[in-house]
């Protein structure tokens, strides 16, 4: 593949990634506020979160100031994101594969970030790849990420294929997801092990992307790796692998959303708008006629005589 083709492909795939990622994330964020559905433990409950308690344990709770322990919430989330705490506690067998898989990705995000930064700096004449141990360190970091990721992906692929517990709920798409990632990990690892000046090449490519000019002498395996990496990025927003974004909402906006409504609050006003939407459920007891709002339907006592009115 020529340098210009690689450049064009990279731009297209990156654009798809950014666009689809933003659209899907915004769609999730814009879903309407829902009825309360919190689930214990809620770590921000100060002094109570550790045993699953909440402010509802207090007499006259609505008269007391609500103290939220944001640090406890952050620590809980950090353990969950970095160490996959829930999987470690409740599904240890799978954790041994899933943890290296995810941790490998985290290492690659860090290494990738540093490499892109190196690319940026190269534009202003700073050669980060030449900074003593930096080049070797970044190669090691990325190599470890590729190796852990590849180990996890292969393990997850086979365990999903062979374990009866997992097979039934594994869609063909999940195998494709793992193969796409595996291709990225394997080509990356191969490149990190075989390409001399790996970090310099990657930084050069990143810098080239920024100034729309990719070095022509990019090694083949590295070019293949970039193609797989960008393919993965472009594919990511269309898959359930977006769960890293969804997780923010499932935890913060569902499990831990224990905000009570207070008169005149922003939440109160938002709910009033939602309650004024038209309901079209068809079951007879709902008595929706295509014109009634949620409020109309809920204020109907459900008695037979009201149906005749």
């Amino acid at each position: 593949m020529s340098a210009s083709m690689l450049l064009l492909l990279s731009y297209i795939l990156l654009a798809i990634f950014v666009l689809a990622f933003v659209i899907r994330s915004v769609k999730l964020a814009r879903l309407p506020v829902h009825l309360r559905w919190e689930l214990s433990p809620v770590p921000h409950e100060k002094g109570k979160g550790h045993y699953g308690g909440s402010y509802l344990e207090e007499v006259d709770w609505w008269t007391k100031p609500r103290e939220k322990d944001h640090m406890a919430e952050a620590v809980y989330m950090a353990k969950e994101i970095v160490f996959l705490k829930a999987l470690f506690e409740h599904n240890r067998k799978l954790w041994w594969l899933s943890f290296p898989f995810h941790f490998g990705l985290y290492l690659l995000v860090v290494a990738g970030g540093l490499l892109v930064m190196g690319g940026l700096l190269s534009l202003v004449g700073v050669d980060m790849a030449g900074w003593g141990v930096m080049g070797a360190g970044l190669t090691l970091l990325a190599g470890a990420g590729y190796a852990l990721g590849a180990f996890g992906a292969v393990g997850l692929f086979f365990v999903r294929l062979t374990d009866d517990n997992l097979r039934n709920s594994t869609a063909p798409a999940t195998f494709v997801n793992l193969l796409v990632l595996l291709a990225m990990f394997v080509t990356g690892l191969w490149a990190a092990l075989t390409v001399t000046g790996f970090t310099g090449h990657v930084m050069g490519f990143a810098g080239g992307l920024l100034r729309a000019s990719v070095p022509a002498e990019l090694p083949g395996i590295l070019a293949a790796h970039f193609v797989f990496a960008f393919l993965f990025l472009a594919y990511l927003p269309f898959t359930q692998m977006m769960h890293f974004v969804a997780k923010y909402f499932t935890y913060h906006k569902v499990r831990w959303d224990d905000e009570p409504v207070t008169a005149g609050s922003k939440l109160d006003l938002e709910l009033k708008k939602l309650l004024n939407q038209t309901v079209t459920w068809a079951a007879p007891h709902v008595r929706a006629d295509g014109k009634k709002t949620w409020v109309d339907v809920a204020m109907d006592s459900g008695r037979p005589e009201e149906a005749k009115k």
Binding site: R160, S169, Q240, A246, A263, K272, T280, A282, V297, R303
Partner: protein, 549 residues
């Protein structure tokens, strides 16, 4: 597996692997039959299946009229379409319901959590080990796996609602056809989950299979008008029409409470007068009206405690106001809202400062949290009886002698109060103070297991469903109870299983009776207020009776 192999294996009785697409297979009379041999063995003396009551055989009439093609268990009589066109009409209605469930206008109430749960499950099966129903079958019954139901639903959404769904089906795995069998089996499957949300608690992503079961129930109720009779006609509809799902109208309630008050006063020597409709009272106490009929000592004990502590309280005799039950929580948001709004209107008219939820878990969840965003910011505040009682018990207004409760006591945590509302410690502080032999179950608190009666099952006993809810639904709980009392297993030591929730009590009563646990192990059950009154210094006679009631 090919169709041919599938059917052959079923005929030969050989165990076959159950897949999601089996839900649509007309040639399967039952997708995955359940029976006593499919369950993990209980410890002695409950280990002999032949000594237990046995499972009820479905009558021919039931087989013909009730829907029971999922696991051989029947809960509901559904419409009986006579032609393929009629069947298709229901299937089309179901698809319409799916679309409404995924629309902001018709389902703003749960659209965000539902969307997240549909789109982001990675199928890691962490939830499977958390589900007491799946565990009861030794993790062998695929249809009870929390993800089985969700995957079927998810695949139907992908195939029949998502753009390009049929085209992408081989890739997304959406391999389930939609037909009459699929929808009726999915309906049945929605009523094999207690909605306890223990699975959601362990999910690394935060996917909620309990919510999906809830939403499936809602689709069927709000679009097709399908719901168990006990929850709908005999539940929310009766409550809104007459005043209570027990069928009691205001006159009957007042008579019953008066009788209970007199009886309690005779037994205890304490004032058990229950004021009705006292305007401007500090507290409106709302019981689950089932207590007045099944466990009258419970409202009686409340009256004794509140009067002894000098609380300014009242009951309501307005229709719905004397029954905190709200089965809408389990299957229908419209019915949920109607009942919750009525409760709030009654409290508002009385001008009380707060509503206190009696010993009823789902009443707590419905009125305190779930309906909070329907009632709005101007609603009358709602509070659990647990912190309310804790304050009374430790206020010094009542004198207690904990030695009166010197028998083994364990606590069942109602999911709707503990896991869903985070009210964990007040009840424990009371029990640690008043019950010298209090011991915890394992696990407990927010990690508890459901009693098996959650989501309305405790009041559902049609056809052979009781066999299922006791043997499958309560199996893990029964094992937990036995383990909690394992240091004194014999019937000579009387033990108390404290369950501060009406529906849990109903389920646990049926469970203990089914196994003969009072005779074999000396275990009875009751609420929390009974233990509090039993420990009162000046009470004349023991308030707790070692009998099955």
């Amino acid at each position: 597996m090919s169709d041919k192999v599938h059917v052959t294996e079923q005929k030969s009785g050989k165990k076959r692997k159950v897949w999601g697409k089996d839900m649509a297979r007309r040639e399967l009379k039952v997708v995955d039959p359940i029976g006593p041999d499919d369950l993990f063995p209980l410890p002695p003396p409950y280990d002999k299946v032949e000594e237990q009551p046995g499972w009820k055989e479905l009558s021919e009439d039931a087989k013909a009229n009730a829907t029971c093609s999922l696991d051989g268990i029947a809960t509901t009589k559904l419409p009986n379409p006579q032609t393929p066109e009629e069947e298709q009409k229901y299937v089309d209605q179901f698809v319409e319901g799916l679309k409404k469930l995924l629309s902001k206008e018709n389902n703003w109430e749960f659209l965000q959590p539902l969307t997240l749960s549909i789109e982001y499950c990675v199928g890691c099966q962490t939830c499977a080990d958390a589900c007491h129903v799946f565990l009861a079958t030794d993790k062998k019954k695929e249809i009870y796996r929390p993800t089985y139901r969700s995957d079927v639903f998810r695949k139907l959404v992908k195939k029949y609602v998502s753009p390009g769904g049929k085209l992408l089906a081989p890739f997304t795995g959406a391999d389930i056809d939609l037909n009459w069998d699929t929808i009726t089996r999915l309906y049945e499957l929605a009523y094999r989950c207690n909605l306890c949300r223990r699975c959601a608690q362990t999910c690394p992503i935060g996917v909620d299979n309990g919510l999906i079961a809830h939403e499936i129930r809602k689709l069927f109720s709000q679009e097709l008008g399908w719901a168990p009779r006990e929850l709908h006609e005999k539940g929310t509809v009766l409550q809104l029409e007459v005043g209570s799902s027990t069928g009691m109208n205001p006159v009957v309630v007042k008579d019953n409470v008066e009788f209970i008050d007199e009886d309690m006063q005779d037994v205890t020597g304490f004032s058990a007068d229950s004021p009705f409709d006292k305007e401007g009272a500090d507290v409106l106490l709302i019981h689950n009206a089932g207590e007045m009929l099944a466990w009258p000592e419970n409202p009686g004990a409340f009256a004794i405690i509140l009067n002894a502590a000098g609380i300014d309280w009242t009951l309501s005799s307005a229709e719905v106001g004397y029954d905190g039950v709200n089965y809408g929580l389990f299957y229908d948001d419209v019915q949920l809202a109607r009942i919750a709004l009525t409760h709030n209107t009654i409290a508002d008219k009385l001008g009380v400062k707060k509503m206190i939820m009696g010993e009823c878990g789902h009443q707590h969840k419905a009125l305190v949290t779930v309906a909070d965003r329907v009632l709005g910011g101007a609603a009358i505040p709602r509070e659990s009886f647990l912190p309310f009682l804790e304050e009374i018990v430790f206020s010094g207004k009542i004198e207690f002698d904990p030695s009166k409760n010197d028998f083994p006591v364990t606590l069942h945590d109602p999911c709707n109060i503990v896991r869903n509302l985070g009210i964990v410690e007040p009840q424990r502080r009371i029990l640690r103070y008043l019950c010298p032999q209090f011991r915890e179950m394992t696990p407990h608190g927010a990690d508890n297991y459901c009693c098996g009666g959650g989501s309305g099952f405790a009041v559902m006993s049609p056809y052979n469903f009781t066999d299922w809810r006791i043997n499958v639904g309560s199996r893990v709980k029964f094992k937990q109870v036995l383990d909690a009392f394992a240091d004194q297993p014999g019937p000579e030591v009387k033990k108390y299983l404290c369950a501060p929730c009406s529906n849990c009590k109903g389920q646990l009563r049926d469970m203990l009776q089914y196994y003969g646990a009072l005779d074999k192990s000396g275990i009875t059950y009751g609420g929390l207020v009974e233990l509090i009154v039993n420990a009162m210094v000046d009470i004349k006679e023991p308030f707790i009776h070692w009998e099955m009631h």
